[in-house]
């Protein structure tokens, strides 16, 4: 009996092994058919003053736009990479690893190029050697030197010292500019937090507990709005005091202090719940954004913005 059951489960496992690949194959055939028949995923461009711009398929129907091979490939690559990342939800696999590696590599390369062209060229080389940079690299820059241009040697030297850590000897030289960065960052951030998150928050909490609001026409007090504003002010006051009590460890949390502390915990829990709710909303919005890209831009199964003739959109 036991061996019979084992045989049946082995047979079932053998069959189910083919279910996933068969489904994937069917989906691939369907997508290929849609691409061949409807041209789904195609991006159309029309000439404009500032170079070709993406337009709707209606412009192509009217004969003023044509398919862009580069942008179409972009949509297909984006769609396939999205699916590769989603595949991790099933289980870890080489396609996911490939998409992850592409993302990391492209990001690093992009950062380097952007930093070079947006900072090193205009803000360092352009200040030290403006005529050279203006003539050869960035024509928009002024070829004139500023009065105190030589100060820009300081960041140049600090930058070179920072790169010294790549050298086999004298890595300690990089510690000096790093110390400068840490000190300056800590100082800048301290002032920001002190002002916005400490002093101004104290100011924002010290408000009248009873609020009287006037009606829009200035005739008398709006009691409903006043009641709402007063409840809000009292909630804020009680909430802040109770939360602070919870984090006040110099006194044992018993009696009145204990009750205030417990209320503080409730306030904190409600805050965490609200934050969690917001996070869920955010994550679902991201999923919806990605699915809309797949269903609309790539597969043309939906067309919420009416960018294509109706018979181009749909399952068949």
């Amino acid at each position: 009996m036991a061996s019979g059951q084992l045989l049946v489960s082995e047979k079932t496992a053998g069959k189910s092994r083919w279910v996933g690949p068969a489904l994937l194959l069917a989906a691939g055939v369907y997508v290929a058919w849609r691409a061949a028949v409807f041209g789904c995923g195609t991006v159309y461009v029309a000439p404009a003053d500032e170079g070709p711009t993406s337009v709707s398929a209606w412009e192509a129907v009217a004969g003023v736009a044509q398919p862009s091979l580069g942008r179409t490939i972009g949509v297909w690559v984006a769609a396939l990479l999205t699916l590769a990342i989603f595949s991790f939800l099933y289980k870890d696999n080489p396609l996911y690893k490939l998409a992850e590696a592409v993302f990391v590599g492209v990001s690093a390369g992009y950062w380097m190029v952007v930093a070079f062209w947006t900072t090193l060229v205009p803000n360092l080389l352009g200040k030290l050697f403006p005529a050279w940079v203006s003539a050869g690299l960035m024509p928009g820059l002024s070829p004139e030197r500023e009065d105190a241009w030589y100060w820009y040697f300081v960041p140049l030297v600090l930058g070179l010292m920072l790169l010294w850590r790549l050298a086999p000897r004298g890595a300690w030289i990089a510690a000096w500019p790093l110390a400068f960065i840490m000190g300056a960052t800590a100082g800048v951030r301290l002032v920001g937090f002190l002002q916005a998150d400490f002093l101004n928050q104290i100011g924002a909490t010290i408000r009248p507990a009873v609020v009287l609001l006037h009606q829009a026409d200035g005739q008398g007090v709006d009691w409903t709005a006043s009641l709402g504003a007063t409840v809000q002010a009292l909630l804020l006051l009680v909430g802040v005091l109770c939360c602070l009590t919870y984090f006040f460890f110099s006194v044992e949390h018993r009696g009145l202090v204990g009750r205030a502390s417990r209320l503080g915990v409730w306030v904190l829990m409600i805050t965490f719940g609200a934050a969690f709710g917001y996070t869920v909303m955010g994550r679902i919005a991201l999923l919806a954004g990605r699915l809309e890209f797949l269903l609309n831009d790539w597969l043309w199964l939906i067309d919420p913005a009416g960018l294509r003739p109706p018979d181009w959109t749909g399952w068949w």
């Binding site: 934050a275 909303m281 954004g289 269903l295 009416g306």
Partner: protein, 287 residues
Amino acid sequence: MLEKLQHLDRRWVFLMMLLAVAVPMLADWQVPEKSTLLVRQTFEAIDRLPEGSKILLSWDWDPSAEGELGPMANAFVRHCCQKKHKMVFIALWPVGQQLIDDTIEKLIQADYPHLVYGRDYVNLGFKPGNEGVIKVLLTDLRQLYTTDARGTNIEKIPVMRGLNTVRDFDLVVSVSAGYPGIKEWVQYASAAYPNQVRLITGTTGVSAPLLYPYIPDQLQGMLGAIKGAAEYEQLLLEKYPPTHGEEVGKYQEALRRMGPQLAAHLLMIGLIVLGNILYFASRRKQS
């Protein structure tokens, strides 16, 4: 049954979530939106400014937050275009520059072709330095931005005339996905110059709860996550109805995502309730 549900493969939950979002999307299921006070205040911050006001739009996000922030960014820009405000775009995130180009191409050039680059709007691009960029912008914008993103000298761009610091702008709008973003704008711009820098933001669901303490003194308006974006789109569509059909769908991105959002939230609530029932049932069974 109890045993089976307790050991349910989590991939079934993923599949259910996928269907909860995809099915309403395929069925074009939408829910009506009513604006809340905070969203109305954010809307008014742009709407009450006189025509031609100068607005700094800081694109502090990247494509990973497109699902949430893309609709907000489009709504802010469309609002500015409708009000004929002058727009100066910057980015504190490196990919922000490409997102600005995308907004300019798909929105401004497509639907507001009468607006001229350099005269009505400009893309100053990305600068690395996080909050350091904001600090410099507060004292001398031209020290950091010597050219726009296309390499044109900033002195030759008409829209930049008279704009030397952040304080010269009538409003700063930060579409923010994290660090550096709206928190840094509050800490270094609005806190330092409380009566001179007015700030509003559109931000992700993760960031939104942390920003409420800054409202209304240090932050004059906020759109929190896709819900805030949907309410803003509704206000915008009511006050400035699109002139042709294509635009209606284009500017309802957030509104049409609220249907899938509702279905997914109902699923989440159902799963949380089910999880609790299973927990108490298994405890009862054990005792």
